[in-house]
């Protein structure tokens, strides 16, 4: 087996791997939380719409 780099010399590779992994995970969590916010927004809109409708029905 050929070892090209001295054991201490390959630390940049290690950090690169971990940084990429964490970046991808955070990116994914960010992406899902944005979708979650979108869902929450639709939920509030729906609730407000229903309340408005309920009020108008009581009024009539």
């Amino acid at each position: 087996m050929i070892i090209l780099a001295a054991p201490a010399g390959n630390i940049p590779y290690l950090f690169a791997a971990f940084i990429i992994c964490w970046a991808v995970f955070f990116g994914y969590v960010f992406f899902t939380s944005r979708q979650q916010r979108e869902l929450d927004r639709r939920m509030t809109e729906l609730r407000e719409g229903l309340e408005r409708e309920g009020r108008s029905r009581e009024g009539s």
């Binding site: 070892i3 054991p7 630390i11 791997a17 991808v24 979708q35 639709r42 409708e53 108008s56």
Partner: protein, 224 residues
Amino acid sequence: MAAAGLLMLANTYLIFMWAPTEATLGHVQRILYIHVPMAWLAFFAFFVVFVGSVMYLWKRQRRWDALASSAAELGVLFTTLVLITGPIWAKPVWGVWWTWDARLTTTLVLWLIYVGYLMLRSYGVNRSQGALYSAVLGIVGFVDVPIVYFAVDWWRTQHQRLVIGGATLEGNLHPDMRTTLFFSLASFTLLFLVLLWQRVSMKRTETELEALEGSQELMGGRSV
């Protein structure tokens, strides 16, 4: 979510501080502690896709499709990271970024199949059709994996161009390394399950929302 985050932090501490440094490979060997668990979980995710797809075709309930598609998303995410960390490990150790060996090639083919799965979902005409078609691919893809592996394995043994020494990822492991690896596997599994649960419940909320919005539009139409 918080528990998974804490466990991942503890995991990072173990990987960098506690696990002994590999004598011949040096620090880069620590990639193993994230690479191997992610690879196992990716395969597990595709197994979940298969189960979800079979159940969806059988029961035709949206929740099985939500499970299968969420697992496919996470499986592609993990496989992508496996395909990124693998070459980063291989370059300093083997001297090349990539080699067409059986495991690497199978992983790449697997990744392509499930990227196709996700594309098929987003290009479908409507949701139930997308669910149906992707369930078909979820089954075909999973059945195909062992055949791909055998084919590539036989093919490699016939075209050995690059001889790789004994430095496989799971070589002889020190007990402490083994402990770290299993701790890492446990924390990645928890992370996977948390993310999976989150995605599935999000898709369920979306389904309910769509149904409610639909009925609200109907009611609005009647009142006018």
